[in-house]
């Protein structure tokens, strides 16, 4: 009996999703995280799976892991002490960043403190120009003093980022060789090996992030491999990446930057898989945890990708699944301002003390407390029996605000819910307008602990009429790992006019990229199956300061058909920006290739549908639309394919609660998704 296991570590829980490959039996598990002993919860989970579900460790053939160890290293600023080697005269590029600051109406606005500060930045005299020519040679003598000084200041490793290395990496490579020779105990990363793309700040900060998290990530992965081996697990662990794909742990130890956003990315991949299974093409995913709501679009079946996604306070410039985040979650605190206006978030009670109703010392009312007051939660045990909801504590916390507002406690709770939802609404509107889509054409897929709780209320606010609640909303990220493919991104900066003169360069770049992708899959990942590649280019009108990514056909480059490339760009420009200019000159900035080694498709068991109305576990009282109402509470495990019921209702399961308002009616499909649609 061979098993595939997906594991995702979140803030409070580590989620397991295990699939028995032959029978398609899927089991899930949540274990509390052990922040003081990372990795132990993993073994606990494996033991628990063996005990309760009969998952024999020796039968685990695929083990896919998403971890927050990298991003937490950045957020908590616990990464390596780095020295940066760059060109003399440009030592401040990292601090200046792109100048524009967040929170620009405040006179106190500031850049986040860089991960490498100026006393650890060393300028060298070599200089390469934009055509790749050398304007000033390297001076090997300089490096000795740098190594000495960096060592004296406690450097654990070097990052080398030199101007124009995306086209001419020779200086970076020479510096790396010299540093490795002089300081074999320190690691060295160059910007041209991490992500060789034009734009010095973006390339530098990506390389710095890689070096910054490297020791911790690498140490963690080594521990993980040892832990799995100690339990007799034969699988070599795979890691989920920010690009929604997978790589093996061995690569993860050096290409650490690729896994910084693995958790949010694999959530979207998991959701896209579920959406595809349910026959949905356009989906807005909503993942709500304790402190934030993550939103992503699946358009025509595909997750959206972008660069510049946030890693803590820093932008990440490698291709990543696009996820928008807003500081509204179950733990978001509600407060009344001095003018008597109620506000929700962005302050959060987090997991400690957590919402008042958790009884861990939280006093301020949160969204979760509001849901408890309204009666949606606290009626049956949740979170795998590891959390108890005390509705009296919630009531007390909300009552404080109710008094200041001069409203009833339930009415105040409903107001907290509405305001919280309207904050997320702003983020959805931003997301939809950024992509130029009409969100009303989308289906909302809520997951995470809080998504199903707020999902239907958000749907009404944003004008979405269809909601799909997956069977296991708590483990969508873990599931994402199970269904993901091996996926590597490769890039070459071309930066020239897209005309026939560029054909030779494009062809050479494509050959190189193809070879790189193949080496990565075959040698790096040990992949033996058929390789799929996707080619695209970052293109723009000459003189524009931004590019759009245009999907290309390989044949256009091989047959020197740059006209086809230009046509594709004009069309894409029209689609993305609502206009184009077919007479204008077009530039190719970067050529990109994605090399994909597809996993075996995962098919989940489906059960025959029989139309039936489920029996409520009990009738509960909720406060809805300003009035107390008695509504049925269904247990999720009692719902079978074909079950249907009308709102208002509540569906409770171990890790979340789905609130169904009166305007929706529900039916359950063959893979146990609950589909909600407006009642006729």
């Amino acid at each position: 009996m061979a098993w595939k296991i997906g594991v995702d570590i979140g803030g409070t829980f580590i989620d397991f999703c295990a699939l028995e490959q032959e029978t398609r039996r899927l089991v899930t598990l949540k274990v509390l995280t052990t922040p003081d002993d990372p990795g132990r919860e993993l073994l606990t989970g494996i033991e628990r799976l063996a005990e309760t579900e009969g998952v024999v460790p020796e039968a685990i053939e695929v083990f896919v892991h998403g971890t927050t160890v990298g991003i937490n290293t950045v957020i908590q600023r616990k990464g390596a002490r780095l020295a940066l080697v760059t060109n003399a005269g440009f030592e401040d590029v990292v601090e200046l960043a792109r100048l524009r600051l967040p929170d620009m109406y405040s006179l106190f606005c500031a850049q986040p403190e860089p991960l490498v500060l100026r006393d650890m930045i060393f300028g060298i005299s070599g200089r390469v120009l934009s055509d790749g020519s050398e304007a000033a040679a390297l001076d090997p003598g300089e490096l000795e003093a740098i190594v000495e000084s960096a060592r004296a200041k406690g450097a654990e490793g070097f990052v080398v980022s030199l101007l124009h290395s995306y086209i001419a990496p020779a200086h970076e490579r020479a510096v790396k060789r010299a540093l490795e020779r002089m300081a074999p105990d320190l690691f060295v990363f160059t910007s041209s090996e991490v992500w060789p793309v034009i734009r010095e700040y973006e390339r530098s900060v990506t390389t710095i992030l890689n070096g910054y998290v490297h020791p911790r990530v690498s140490g963690y992965l080594t521990g993980l491999e040892a832990a799995l081996a100690s339990r007799g697990v034969p699988a070599r662990p795979l890691l989920t990446k920010s690009n929604g794909g997978l790589m093996n742990a061995a690569e993860g130890k050096s290409a650490c930057v690729n896994m910084l956003l693995s958790g949010t990315a694999s959530g979207v991949i998991g959701a896209a898989h579920l959406a595809g299974q349910a026959g949905l093409r356009n989906v807005l995913t909503l993942d709500i945890g304790g402190t934030s709501a993550d939103l992503a679009l699946i358009v025509d079946g595909e997750p959206q990708f972008g660069t510049g996604e946030a890693v803590g306070e820093f932008p990440l410039y490698i291709p990543s699944v696009s996820v928008s985040s807003i500081g509204i979650g179950g733990g978001s605190i509600a407060r009344v301002d001095e003018l008597g206006v109620l506000k929700v978030g962005p302050d959060s009670a987090g997991s400690l003390p957590g919402p008042a109703c958790y009884g861990r010392g939280g006093r301020e009312a949160t969204i979760t407390d509001a849901m408890a007051v309204l009666g949606y939660i606290g009626q049956v045990p949740m979170a795998y029996g590891q959390l108890a909801i005390d509705r009296d504590l919630a009531h007390r916390a909300v009552a404080v605000l109710a008094e200041r507002l001069g409203r009833g406690v339930e009415a105040t709770a409903e107001a907290i819910l509405q305001i919280g939802v309207s904050e997320i609404f702003v983020e959805v509107e931003k997301l939809a307008s950024r992509y130029g889509v009409d969100i009303r054409d989308f289906t909302l897929m809520p997951f995470g602990g809080g998504g199903p709780m707020l999902g239907c209320f958000l749907a009404r606010e944003i004008g979405v009429r269809r909601i799909v609640a997956p069977r296991r909303p708590g483990v969508v990220s873990a599931l994402g790992g199970l269904v993901a493919d091996l996926k590597g991104d490769f890039i070459r900066t071309v930066f020239r006019l897209c005309d026939d003169d560029a054909a030779a360069a494009l062809e050479r770049c494509l050959e190189e990229l193809t070879a790189e992708g193949e080496t990565w899959l075959r040698k790096g990942q040990g992949f033996a199956g058929p390789i799929r590649t996707v080619v695209s280019a970052d293109m723009r009108y000459a003189g524009q300061s931004f590019e759009i990514e245009v999907p290309l056909e390989r044949a256009w480059i091989e047959r020197v058909d740059t006209a086809a490339m230009r046509r594709a760009f004009h069309d894409q420009h029209l689609a993305v920006y609502d206009f184009n200019d077919p007479a204008a000159a077009v530039e190719v900035v970067n050529l990109r290739l994605v090399a994909i080694g597809e996993s075996e498709p995962v098919v989940f068991p489906s059960s025959p549908s029989r139309k039936e109305t489920p029996r409520p576990a009990k009738m509960i009282e909720v406060f809805l639309d300003g009035a107390h109402r008695t509504v049925p509470l269904y247990r999720r495990e009692d719902l079978v394919a074909g079950s249907h019921f009308d709102g208002p209702a509540v569906v409770a399961q171990e890790d979340t609660t789905l609130a169904v308002p009166a305007w929706l009616t529900a039916h359950v499909d063959e893979v146990l998704n609950i589909h909600l649609e407006p009642a006729e």
Binding site: G89, P102, L339, A415, S433
Partner: protein, 666 residues
């Protein structure tokens, strides 16, 4: 009473509508001005044309308090699908220079206008005497490009092709203008749709009443902030280095009176309107958004997250006498008003700093220099025109931390261009782009450092323009014992025998091999530098922010070859003579010397004389009085100088009313 829960939700929905508009414009616009500089705004207006909601993280920061009512009222009979527009600084006082084109569209519900969607873009060029339509040297609005008074750009959904044709004929980059205008129309349509769905959600009565409540709420928040500031009169003046090619300082003077929860900003004593394009066309509107940009910053800093809309402006009344730089008469040129506005903000910061020194930073660098290069690409034999990085200085030192380096405060909206992109597109080679050592004002908290940029050109007669350069004479001030910051400058071939310092000049012509170095001013310091922890100073030295010499001289910290000598530092700091009561501001030697001649009294006399003269005489007389006093080496009073000027120019009209009872303009 309006339900406060609905109010909060309505606030989110109207902000979402504005965010939606901003992204639609940003996504579909053509020009770098919108895409990169983000010099645009979008907003939702109430039926009276008052701004109710703006986006928070897109666009420029200048117009949350904008009132479009006057311009809107200059067109009658709006129909659904109409779009009004204007770029004329002298019709309705909405646009503030010709490149800024404002559009507005009525939102109808049941045949009645219940809101407007509006916005502005900065057109790359509107025609006129110079490319980009902006130059300090222009003297009347007619030189600054084509102007459209408020009129309909679209009628019932259809563009007025004649207007577009006139524009296309007169401007240098018609495609960019038309593309951006169409993108803005798209954004207005998006806003209209969003407003209509808000009406559907909230109901027309709640919506209507709610817009007013949002303005009242912002007003109440602003009044709450003012009520926490001690009542009093706070006077402050600051100077732009040069008022025109004449090169005399341009003074902005403010008397801020805070009484309870309202404030009066009296700008009497500011310079007469100038024969350059540095005038700010406010039309004397006591709440013109352009006059209050500094106020938005102060309010938002004191109360982060304050609702940004026109309600914020209500507790404030500005007095700007007519015929002065902040309320010029037609046809004064106004193109470069952004330079004056930077100074206007620092004047407001300085006045508030006296009222609540513990809560506000020292002066920001205040010179957001935009650099353009025109040179020849030798390989392709063609002329290249490109914008390179803005050269922005740091923020002022804050109450509990150092000023932000190289950006910050009221300049945080600008972006730079990657060196690698510029070098690949433009035949110049950067020599340096970074922070300038010793440029931040010394203090217990150090001012943010200046930015320094240097590049080499390779073609003959390469022309570099550096707009908005200022602060090469009057320094950003420090507060509470903190020192003024380093000055800006522009230098050709620094450190060589051919070095040429260009000071405030905003154009440089370079020859092959020449290096041009531009640096901004820094941010002012805060608190006594001798109280800065020695380890912090040592860290600054290690980071190259402060040199060892400055550490010793300005901070009393002894560092030799990178090593902090604690004993010597303690001894040195102890030996310093007690400073006594420090003045609130430190301005630096240049301003101190200037104000020994140009005292407050001298300026009062000058203001009285000029205010009594017809507007078209004022700048001339100011220039002559300055020349006369300079010739007399400052030993002449303003009255004596004026008498001398009058002897030379007997044509100067007699001041019949007597200067004591001169018109209280405005």
């Amino acid at each position: 009473m309006f339900d406060t829960v609905t109010l909060r939700i309505l606030a989110n929905h109207s902000r979402a509508a504005a965010e939606n508009m901003a992204r639609t414009l940003f996504r579909t616009a053509h020009s770098a001005f919108v895409k990169e500089t983000q010099d645009f705004t979008v907003m939702i207006l109430d039926p009276q044309g008052r701004t109710v909601a703006v986006p928070m993280d897109f666009g420029a920061t200048w117009y949350p308090g904008l009132t479009c009512g006057r311009a809107i009222g200059m067109i009658d009979d709006y129909r659904p699908g109409d779009v009004g527009f204007t770029n004329d600084p002298y019709s309705g006082y909405l646009a503030t220079h010709a490149p800024d084109t404002h559009l507005w569209k009525p939102v109808f519900h049941d045949g009645e206008i219940v809101a407007w969607t509006a916005g502005h873009i900065h057109n790359t060029d509107m025609g006129g005497a110079v490319p980009a339509s902006l130059s300090r040297s222009l003297t009347e609005i007619h030189q600054e490009g084509l102007r459209f008074p408020p009129m309909k750009l679209m009628r019932e959904g259809v563009f007025d092709e004649q207007i577009l044709k006139i524009m296309a004929t007169n401007v240098r980059k018609p495609d960019l203008n038309v593309g951006d205008i169409k993108a803005l129309v798209g954004a207005l349509n998006t806003g209209e749709r969003k407003v209509l769905s808000m009406i559907e959600k909230f109901g027309i009565e709640t919506f209507r009443e709610g817009l007013g409540e949002l303005l009242d709420y912002a007003e109440a928040q602003a009044r709450g902030v003012l009520a926490d500031i001690p009542d009093g009169r706070y006077s402050f003046a600051d100077y732009a280095d040069e008022d025109s090619v004449e090169g005399n300082p341009c003074r902005l003077n403010l008397t801020l009176t805070i009484e309870g929860d309202s404030a009066v900003l009296d700008f009497t004593g500011s310079d007469p309107q100038l024969a350059s394009s540095l005038n700010v066309p406010s039309g004397g509107d006591p709440r013109h958004s352009m006059l209050l940009v500094g106020i938005y910053y102060v309010l938002y800093t004191l109360k982060p997250g304050i609702l940004l809309n026109q309600g914020l402006t209500r507790p404030f009344t500005c007095i700007t006498p007519e015929g002065t730089v902040l309320n010029p008469q037609f046809p004064a040129a106004v193109g470069m008003r952004s330079l004056t506005c930077a100074r206007l903000r620092s004047v407001i910061f300085g006045a508030f700093s006296q009222a609540i020194p513990q809560r506000l930073p020292a002066a920001p660098a205040g010179n957001n220099c935009i650099v353009n290069v025109m040179t020849t690409d030798e390989r392709r034999r063609r002329t290249v025109i490109a914008a390179v990085n803005p050269v922005v200085g740091g923020g002022g030192a804050m109450p509990h931390r150092d000023g932000t380096n190289g950006s910050g405060a009221d300049a945080a909206y600008l972006k730079n261009t990657p060196i690698e992109i510029t070098e690949a597109e433009t035949p110049i080679q950067f020599v340096r782009y970074g922070l300038r050592p010793d440029s931040g004002g010394a203090g217990r908290w150090r001012g943010g450092l200046a930015t320094e940029m240097a590049f080499r050109v390779f073609a003959p007669d390469s022309r570099i323009t550096a707009r908005n350069r200022d602060r090469s004479f009057f320094r950003p001030w420090g507060v509470l014992g903190g020192r003024a910051a380093g000055l800006s400058d522009m230098v050709v071939n620094p450190g060589t025998p051919e070095e040429r310092r260009l000071g405030n000049t905003d154009i440089a012509v370079l020859q092959p091999g020449d290096v041009l170095s531009i640096h901004s001013a820094g941010g002012g310091g805060r608190g006594d530098p001798f109280e800065r922890e020695a380890w912090r100073v040592a860290l600054d030295v290690a980071r190259g922010y402060v040199g060892e010499a400055s550490a010793l001289q300005d901070y009393g910290v002894v560092i030799r070859e990178g090593v902090l000598d604690e004993a010597a530092t303690t001894a040195l700091r102890a030996a310093r003579a007690p400073a006594g009561a420090l003045p609130h501001f430190h301005f630096g030697p240049e301003r101190e010397s200037y104000e020994r001649s140009w005292t407050t009294e001298a300026y009062d006399a000058l203001t009285a004389i000029l205010a009594a003269l017809p507007v078209h005489w004022r700048f001339f007389v100011k220039t002559e009085i300055f020349a006369a006093r300079r010739a007399a080496d400052g030993r002449q009073s303003v009255e004596e100088a004026f008498a001398a000027v009058r002897r030379r120019f007997p044509q100067i009209p007699q001041i019949t009313q007597g200067i004591e009872t001169a018109e209280a303009c405005g």
